[in-house]
Symmetry: C2
Subunit: 347 residues, 2 copies
C-alpha cells in the first residue's frame, strides 16, 4: 500500500504507530468484526457517525444492532457490504442508508469492506470503512429541489407574461369587439407571413403576440372617432394616429414587453417613409412592424367597417401587391402572396 | 484507537495486516514524510487525487512539489497542515485548495496531520490524511448559484406582476383621466383604512393594488354613459353595473390576479345585501371589498363629476357615517373616520 523506496521507508513501516496514527486521523468510520459478525473494535469516528454508545456496540452482532438481525433485504441484497464479506470472504463496497434514531434522520455512507486473515490465510473476520456522504447528498438533494423550483418559477414567469398579453387582449375586447377579432386575425396572418420569410420560431411567435396587442392603444381613442360611420376629418385622423404611441404608454412600464412595444409602435410606418408616428423608412422599420403593416391592412380591407363594406378578397390582395415598395416591404408582400396562395388559392 | 475488550481483540490487533487493510480501503489520501518533509510513502488514493506520477513524488520534498518551495503564504500561514506539523511537531488540521494541473481545476481537501515518533519519542516525520471535499464544495457552489438565480427570478416574477398592474392603471388612464386619479386616491384611502383595521402589511398592500384596478372594467363601458352630464336612465345604470364583472373578464386569465379579482368583483356590494353584482351581505362580502366600497364612495363624493359638483368634505364624511350598517361595514367606517380625523382634523 505504501510505496517503498530503499531502506528508509522500511524503517517507517516497521513503526506500528504510523498506521494507528493514520487510522486515528481518518475522517472515516472504521469497524472490525470477527468471522461471526461480532463487533470487536471501531474508531471514534464510527461511534460518532452512528450515535451509538460503546455498550450497545462491543461484543454484539453487527446485524442485530443495525439490521434487526437480518443480513439481506427482501430482494436478497446484503444490507451492508461488511455482511457480504462475512458471507463470501471477499472484499466488497457499496452505499448504505442508515436511520440514526438519535438524530431522527438518515445518514448515507460509502462503504468499503475487506476480509481479515491470519498468517495461515484463514478467514478470521472483516473490517469496514465508512465514508459519510450525508452532507454531500443533502446538498445534492437541495440542489435538485431548488432546481425544480427554479424550473417552475421560470415557467410561471413565462405563463404570467402570456396571461398578461391575454388580459390586454381581453381589455381590447371589452372596449371594442371589432378590434378583438381584428387583432386575432392580424396575429395569425403576421405569424404565417413570418414562416414564409424563414425567420425562427421565436420571432414568428413574437409576431403573433405583437399582432394580438398592436391596437392596444385604441383603448385611448374615443369611440366617437373609432366607430364614426363617415370619413374622418384631419383632426380626427390626427387623434387616430396617436394609437401606436398610446399603446407604448400603456405597456411601457413592463420590462418584458420592450421588444413587442417597438414592433407595435411602428406598425403604421410606411416602407417609403411616409407613415407614422416616426416616418421611418425601409429597413429602419423593425421587420415585424413591416409584417404587421401588411397583415393589418389586409384584415382591415377584408372586414366590414363602420364607414365602408369589406373589399372582395381579390381586390384586397391586388391592393397589397400594388403598394409593394411604397407602403409595404416588397419582401414581406412576397411572403404574404405565398401565404394567400397556400390558404385561399387565389390571386 | 480501537476499543479493546478482553483477549480476542488483542489477537486481532496483533495482525499488522488489519491496519494495512484499513488504510488500503480508505477513500482518503495518505502521505508520509520524514522530518525534512521528504516524501517516503503515500497510498493510491493520494496519488490519484493529486494526479502526479510516482517519480514526481517519491524522495522529493513536499513543499517543492506542491508549493513552489515555500512552507507559508505571504500572510505567514502554513500552506499545508502537514508543513505545520513538520515545523512544530504537533498535530494540525485545516482545509487546502490545490490546483491540479492535469485536470485544469482545483481540488479542496480537509487535511489532518500528525507527528510520527520513534520508540524513544524522537520526532522522525509526519503523516497527513486528505479527505477530498471537492464534489461537496462543487454542489454547494452550484446550490448557491442556483439559489441566487432563484431569488432573482422570484423578484422578476414580483416585478412583472407589479408592472402588469401599472400597465392596467395606464390603460385606465389612457381611456379616462378621471378614473386614473380616482383609482390612485381610492388605492391610498383603502390602504390607510386597512392600517386602521390592524390587518397585516401584505393585506394593506393588496388593498392598494385592488384600489388601483377596481375600475378596470370601465374600459368596457361606453364613454357616452361614463361621461353623461345628467342622471342615468335605468338601462344606462344597468350597463354601468356590469363594470365589476367586466373587470373580472379582463383579468380572469391571470393566475396571480385571482385574489385581487375577488375584491374588485364585489366592491359595489352593500353591507345590507342590496348592492351588485351578487347581492352579498355583511361578512360574506370580502373585507377588502368592504374597504374599497367606503374609499370609492368617499372619493366619488369629493370629486367633480360630469353630472354634479364635488360635495364639501364634511358632507361626504357625514354621508359615509350615516350609511354605516346599511351601505357600509360599520367597522370599516370607524377606521375610515379615524383616518379622516388623522389627515384632515375634521368630522
Amino acid at each position: 500500500m505504501l510505496n517503498e523506496n530503499g531502506n528508509r521507508i522500511n524503517e517507517f513501516m516497521a513503526l506500528e504507530d504510523i498506521k494507528s496514527v493514520i487510522i486515528q486521523a481518518s475522517p472515516c468510520g472504521v469497524l472490525i468484526v470477527d468471522k461471526d459478525g461480532i463487533i470487536i473494535g471501531y474508531n471514534d469516528t464510527f461511534k460518532k457517525h452512528r450515535a451509538v454508545r460503546h455498550e450497545k456496540l462491543i461484543n454484539r452482532k453487527l446485524e442485530d444492532i443495525f439490521f434487526l438481525g437480518k443480513r439481506k433485504d427482501e430482494q436478497g441484497n446484503f444490507l451492508d457490504p461488511l455482511l457480504e464479506t462475512l458471507e463470501t470472504g471477499r472484499a466488497s463496497s457499496g452505499e448504505l442508508e442508515l436511520y440514526i434514531s438519535f438524530l431522527h434522520d438518515t445518514a448515507i455512507c460509502r462503504v468499503w469492506s475487506a476480509p481479515i486473515r491470519d498468517k495461515d490465510g484463514r478467514f478470521i473476520g472483516a473490517c469496514g470503512v465508512y465514508y459519510d456522504l450525508t452532507p454531500y447528498r443533502r446538498k445534492k438533494k437541495q440542489l435538485e429541489e431548488v432546481n425544480h423550483i427554479l424550473v417552475q418559477t421560470s415557467a410561471q414567469l413565462y405563463n404570467q407574461h402570456m396571461e398578461t398579453i391575454r388580459a390586454f387582449a381581453n381589455a381590447i375586447a371589452a372596449r371594442d369587439n371589432y378590434t378583438r377579432w381584428h387583432s386575432e386575425k392580424v396575429a395569425e396572418y403576421a405569424q404565417q407571413i413570418c414562416y414564409g420569410l424563414g425567420v425562427d420560431e421565436q420571432t414568428a411567435n413574437m409576431a403573433y403576440l405583437a399582432g394580438l396587442l398592436h391596437d392596444v392603444g385604441k383603448i385611448g381613442v374615443p369611440e366617437a372617432i373609432l366607430t364614426k360611420p363617415g370619413r374622418l376629418t384631419q383632426s380626427e385622423f390626427d387623434i387616430i394616429k396617436k394609437h401606436p404611441n398610446i399603446g407604448v404608454a400603456i405597456l411601457d412600464s413592463m420590462q418584458n414587453m420592450k421588444d413587442i412595444l417597438t414592433i407595435i409602435k411602428h406598425h403604421h410606418e410606411r416602407y417609403d417613409g411616409r407613415g407614422y408616428p416616426d416616418c421611418l423608412k425601409g429597413d429602419d422599420i423593425p421587420l415585424l412592424s413591416r409584417v404587421l403593416a401588411v397583415a393589418d391592412s389586409f384584415d382591415a380591407m377584408t372586414s366590414d367597417r363602420s364607414y365602408r363594406k369589406a373589399f372582395p378578397m381579390e381586390k384586397a390582395i391586388a391592393e397589397i401587391k400594388n403598394n409593394a415598395g411604397t407602403q409595404f416591404d416588397p419582401e414581406v408582400v412576397r411572403s404574404f402572396l405565398a401565404m394567400v396562395q397556400d390558404h385561399w388559392i387565389t390571386g
